[in-house]
């Protein structure tokens, strides 16, 4: 039965192609085909869809779309088909092809054309094949992918037709693949199918794998099944490599987050030797600054929204930096040389800051939006990369580079290094060490604030935001080697990638635990971190 219909559809399609080739269809010629949709019964409906598709005329696309959406109605009086929308007491009718007004009808005068899943599928695949003829290459590319996904043997002639006309090599390849996939589902001879499998294997990828798995499962023992099996193994092998690449990508992404969170700490803890347990709260303050900025923009100048992050960056730096300077002046400066006390006091500061934010903004997550350029994703081979992750990687590296420049190339950086290396000497040379201390601490805190702006894009903005990063940040700094910014960079990416590689085997939580255990053991082997020994050489 199904087979028969398919053959019939194929026949129709060929017929239609001949017609298409012969003369460009016009709205008038299409009208009867559209009215064909009004015939009773799903089978007839599907035939009518096939006939419409076979015209290859982009003009029928809106009709099919309306059908799929359930907007097509039949006027009982003349069985003409219209696109109708509810209007007071009845329906407003429109010509489905042209969209021209076609008067109104009472709700009893028209009848909705009902669709089931099979019909919807037919609509989708018809739409797909239709756009194969579109003048717009982007549309053709999407359509080719659609056709490939549906791999309907009935469309083979149409595909052949499209291939012969196609000028874009990429789209042509996809069409070849679509044809191969369709052939596999048809009753073509085994030899042809095996050739099709070979073609598909050459393409590879997840979609092909899914199709081949289905074929392999349903094919009877023989050449086709065997070929499918080898193809599957080979594709799986390739996919594993891609998975590895994807893991590295995820790892780099996580690494950049770790780097952002740790980089400020690398200054306060690494360079100054101050152990600041409120570091995470500086990140949180940066994230809340972003929230406030966005809130103001939303309410007053919505058109600025895409600029909200750019505006937040300097503000977050200032706010967090200022809080940092205050903490340094009010608490930390009394505790230099007493790291354990500093640890406790700054933990207290972190509690106060958390509670202050909780009292002010409430305990719940606040909504921080992604500007348009931060949302969405793009594909690279078999990899999916989201824009926000990509920008955060870029951003982390930019922050890192800027910081290196500040420390290496500015008078402030020189003074900072002088003070941290030899305080009495620096002080006797006229450097105002208390100022340098406060500003350096402010710099570290400000950078944490900047990190908060970036992290607000991928994490929940809540009073506990910072808590989630503090241990990780310390691990990164200690692992990389205290006092060495390059170590922090390498440490962040190493730990990020290690984490993501462990995840598929151990699960997210266990992966994290394993990384923690690894670091604990590592610190015990090399208490001064990865790069401690080379420290001075690298810094210089």
């Amino acid at each position: 039965m199904v087979d028969m219909i398919q053959r019939f559809k194929a026949l129709l399609a060929i017929l239609a192609l001949v017609l298409v080739a012969a003369m460009p269809a016009r709205a008038d010629d299409l009208k009867p085909l559209v009215d064909g949709l009004g015939k009773n019964g799903y089978a007839a409906l599907r035939e009518a869809i096939g006939a419409l598709a076979a015209t290859g005329d982009p003009a029928v696309a809106p009709v099919l779309q309306a059908l799929g959406a359930g907007d097509l109605y039949v006027r009982k009086s003349d069985r003409a088909v219209f696109a109708a929308t509810k209007a007071d007491g009845g329906f407003a009718l429109k010509d489905p092809l042209t969209g021209a007004d076609a008067g109104t009808a009472g709700s009893r005068d028209v009848e909705k054309i009902r669709v089931n899943n099979a019909v919807r599928e037919a609509v989708t695949s018809a739409l797909g094949s239709l756009t194969l003829m579109s003048a717009d290459p982007a549309k053709r590319r999407a359509a080719a992918a659609d056709v490939f996904r549906n791999s309907d043997p009935a469309q083979i002639p149409l595909i052949d037709q499209a291939i012969s006309k196609e000028t874009d090599a990429g789209i042509a390849t996809t069409l070849q693949m679509a044809r191969a996939a369709a052939v596999l589902k048809s009753d073509a001879p085994d030899a042809e199918k095996v050739a099709a499998i070979a073609a598909l294997q050459a393409k590879g990828g997840r979609d092909v794998l899914a199709q081949l798995t289905a074929i392999e499962a349903s094919a009877p023992d023989g050449a086709v099944k065997a070929a499918a099996q080898t193809a599957i193994t080979s594709i799986q092998g390739t996919l594993k490599l891609w998975d590895g690449a994807q893991n590295i990508l995820y790892g780099i992404s996580l690494g950049s987050v770790l780097l952002l969170a740790a980089i400020g700490l690398a200054i306060t803890f690494g360079v100054m030797g101050v152990i600041n347990m409120a570091h995470g709260e500086m990140v949180m303050i940066g994230a809340y600054t972003t929230f406030v900025v966005q809130e103001l923009i939303r309410n007053n100048m919505p058109w600025l929204f895409d600029w909200s992050l750019a505006i937040s960056l300097p503000l977050a730096f200032l706010v967090a930096g200022l809080v940092g300077v205050l903490i340094e002046r009010m608490v930390i400066r009394y505790l230099y040389g007493r790291p354990l006390e500093t640890l406790l006091a700054t933990w207290g500061v972190s509690l106060i800051l958390q509670q202050a934010v909780r009292t002010w903004f409430g305990p719940n997550n606040r909504e921080v939006g992604n500007p348009s350029w931060m949302s969405g994703a793009f594909e690279l081979g078999n990899l999916t990369i989201t824009y926000n992750r990509m920008w955060i990687v870029v951003f982390a590296l930019v922050v890192f580079a800027t910081l290196m420049l500040v420390l290496k190339r500015t008078p402030f950086g020189l003074q900072t290094r002088a003070v941290t290396q030899n305080r009495p000497m620096a002080s006797s040379m006229g450097i105002r060490t208390p100022w340098v201390d406060a500003l350096t601490f402010g710099l570290g805190s400000g950078i944490a604030g900047i990190a908060g702006v970036a992290l607000s894009q991928i994490d929940n903005v809540s009073p506990n935001l910072g808590q989630g990063y503090i241990i990780d940040s310390f691990m990164v700094v200690v692992f990389g080697g205290v006092g060495n910014l390059w170590g922090t960079l390498v440490g962040a990416f190493t730990l990020g990638i290690a984490n993501k590689f462990l995840e598929p085997y151990a699960g997210a939580v266990l992966g994290k635990i394993l990384v923690l255990v690894f670091i604990i053991l590592f610190i015990q082997k090399r208490p001064r971190g990865l790069f401690a020994l080379k420290g001075r050489a690298v810094e210089a």
Binding site: L533, K534, G535, R536, A537
Partner: protein, 258 residues
Amino acid sequence: MTSTIEPVAHAKAKDSLLYLDGVSVSFDGFKALRGLSLVIEPGEMRAIIGPNGAGKTTMMDVITGKTKPDSGDVYFAGDTDLTRLDEAAIASLGIGRKFQKPTVFESHTVWDNIDLALAGDRKPFATLFHRTSQAEIARVEEILDTIRLTDKRDWLAANLSHGQKQWLEIGMLLAQEPKLLLVDEPAAGMTDAETAETAILLQEIARTKSVVVVEHDMTFVRDLGVKVTVLHEGSVLSEGSLDAASADPKVIEVYLGR
């Protein structure tokens, strides 16, 4: 690791108490010691002098196991390879050390400071159940007497003057009953009277033990009246009596030439 000691080194090291040969140490590429060689005979007292940064303290770090040399041999009492032992093991062998900056246990009393340093079983469980014997009490009293701190026995070490801390530290060294004492700048920060007394104290000690003293203060070294080794940039510049060393043109060059 089972490695045999090089026969040559062994032969030379055999009769000495402390034997350093070709010891080099570098920190981040900076060579603090370069091929330093030094031999101390049993019962000998030796003064080491040299400008700041010559590597005197680093040498003591190497002997006491704080710093591992990059290359070179360090033997104690003939055939004990010190480069393979940790600080505690080296101390237990009988090498005592006084730091440049006096370090005593500030929140312990003078008495407890000496008591802790007293020779005896240093294992955790042994000290947990340790009971102070009459002999130990007598020994602490005796040392307190030597270092002239008997009347301060119940003071917290934190409350002692700088010079008294130096003496307390020397007392702790005595309590360890070492065969070799390494003393780093004992006269630093002392008054002249204290310096003179310290010299007498060290000479008393040197009657029964080998002592290596690092010092800047020339009058102090002269007071000691012992063989002198001059270090410069991590290796030995000159060796002999103080007068001979002071006459050595190389030494004059280093001390006066800059």
